[in-house]
Symmetry: C2
Subunit: 387 residues, 2 copies
């Protein structure tokens, strides 16, 4: 009998049985009424997850495809843009805007730092404005969740469009797209949306649509106008053959999220983050991601100097069947990341913590034994474990 | 109890139980050894399906994404290119190269005509050469399978790169990528590869790679160099988070295809095409797609003048549970298309034929009753129904 496996990375995340079941129904053609009803319901409900009234465009791709779409639809070669980067995914924005020939001003932080709205305001003032500012809500490589509301306000003050990578945060931490005035939000199916990877979403404000009509970068598959036109058909269509089985899955997942209620889902993620940090602190290890309620997506743990984080990942994966992630770039070997996004409960977080505790001890790292699990459950609080 | 459903469109196509089972295994992270072993095997075997030794690049997208990738990786704005078009998907090449600012010379045929190598040679001579020629092997909108070997030879003669959309034909009709000297082949998971939509493949020759290094169009998600670099890692990786469950499915499907043997699979498609055409002729309806062995992907039937093809599609779908496709563009209402690609057997083709027969008769069309099914089985020939 195969051992149980725990997928505790910051994406892909575990898929609930309801979503697995939805994906298993026999394939139907994407132009049948049967499919279009499901697509229509999904497109109607996705804006709710964004707290927006703007349409959400669906693409069959990873989140990066939707990121590229945002760049291609908003920018023309030579446009000045600002990228706020404090980790691997911020750097992806930089690579993208460079590929599209933008004049990029980088507001770069050390990996692990939290971007500041004041810094952004200064950067925008110094650079004489920008077409768009590219932001990362949850920097998955470090666990830092940026203060998006404040950052976006500074974009608006400077007349720049705000584009937010919410790939690992949508449905995990609050993102008030309309109330905060976010122009574009990109996300992916495989994080808090609890569906296997393969679908990407882009919530586009009317202001951003208007800007896209002036942008001259070539685009086709990720073209917003083409996608919107298809989705505006009644009942809706996709511009190209979609990942049909994943659309069934995502529709079921969004139903689960909205049935529980978005605020309740945010609260659960907050409590999972608290639980994970409490466990880390109880075992005497140092947190790399900030010790604050916003750190509700992934917890990054700094490894003791004499312990190789990559080896911890290997051992926890091999002997305990728990998949965690290590550090990227300069953080390789230095941190271990536990994802607690989507269909994850506090007992799984406890399992990850105690496995890390044991392996770090085995590798000669100084760690307090036996305290993490109960500290985590205590910090999770409440009676209902899943709600 | 739900009625059985038959998906008889030219894509998406029915998914074999082995592929469904493979997609159902719990999600694993795409950087784990577990996933990379499956990816490695898939990437090793996909060239066999192309009859090529060139690497096959994998993208999470529909086939159109890979088509756009071919344009973006090969072309610079202003490049002269030739598009050979005889239907909806040929026109897609035109839209794509126009979006990328190419100087396009169209060799356009009426929908339903078969492109000719001599015409292409003249076009290339008249236009003073081209960077690339964009071709469609199986024009899904009409059922016409083009003489790719001859067309590609004329591209080589003129020093132009040949790019073949084999989305609905790869694994259904012969495509000898290396022997015929095809430079680029794009395909999708949801046709003869018997997997749900969401993965696209691009087989790229060394000559095409070299050309891509000189092409200046912006690209990132579909960038060949980025994809190849990740796939060349040992064991292989993907450049971006892939549609993990679909990769499991496609790997299982490619195993099924190569286990049966590619020639045997081609033969089965040829016989299914023969069966379908024999049935159409037996009921006295006119074939729209050519009555030749190459027509092994989809059979297009011309409707009697007084019968609305769209209504036939609706009735066959509604009362018989068989999903067929109608005509696009000027062919809307004029043709009915039966797909026989991938995991389809002759009895399903018979079901589609007899359902069409009944519905056309109900709509007052002149049709011979009772002859189609046995004519189809007879034309299929052989003893083994599946092999």
């Amino acid at each position: 009998m195969a051992a149980k496996r725990y997928l505790m990375t910051p994406g892909p995340t575990p898929v609930p049985p309801e979503v697995v079941a939805a994906m298993q129904r026999p394939l139907v053609h994407h132009r049948t009424a049967e499919f279009r009803v499901v697509l229509g319901r999904l497109l109607e409900r996705l804006p709710e997850v964004h707290r927006s009234t703007s349409p959400v465009l669906l693409a069959t791709s990873s989140g990066t495809g939707a990121m590229e779409g945002a760049v291609a639809n908003l920018c023309s070669p030579g446009d000045r843009v600002v990228v706020v980067s404090a980790g691997n995914f911020g750097e992806r924005w930089t690579s993208l805007v460079e590929a599209y020939g933008c004049d990029v001003v980088n507001l770069r932080y050390e990996w692990g730092e939290t971007p500041s709205a004041d810094d952004l305001a200064s950067t925008l003032a110094d650079s004489g404005g920008a077409t768009a500012v590219f932001l990362t809500q949850s920097e998955t490589s470090t666990g830092v969740v940026a203060p998006i509301e404040e950052l976006v306000r500074r974009c608006a003050d400077a007349g720049a469009l705000s584009v937010v990578d919410a790939i690992s945060s949508l449905g995990a931490v609050p993102l008030e797209t309309d109330a905060w005035g976010v122009d574009v939000v990109v996300a992916g199916s495989q994080k808090a949306l609890m569906t296997p990877p393969g679908l990407a979403t882009t919530c586009v404000s009317e202001r951003a649509y208007a800007a896209s009509e002036r942008a001259s970068s070539p685009r086709f598959y990720f073209d917003w106008a083409r996608t919107r036109k298809a989705q505006d058909t009644d009942p809706p269509l996709t511009a190209f053959t979609p990942a049909i089985s994943l659309v069934f899955g995502l529709a079921a997942a969004v139903d689960l999220i909205l049935e529980q209620g978005l605020d309740s889902v945010f609260d659960r993620h907050r409590r999972l983050g608290r639980a994970c940090r409490a466990g880390v602190k109880a075992m005497g290890l140092e947190l790399f991601s900030p010790d604050e309620d916003r750190s509700a997506v992934v917890t990054a743990i700094r490894m003791p100097d004499d312990v190789d984080g990559a080896e911890v990942i290997r051992r926890v994966g091999g002997s305990h069947g728990i998949t965690l992630e290590g550090g990227r770039g300069a953080l390789a070997g230095r941190i271990v990341r536990i994802g607690h996004i989507g269909y994850v409960d506090v007992f799984e977080v406890m399992a990850a913590l105690v496995a890390v505790e044991q392996v770090v001890a085995d590798l000669g790292g100084e760690v307090e034994r036996g305290a993490a699990a109960s500290a985590a459950l205590e910090a999770f609080g409440g009676e209902a474990v899943h709600a």
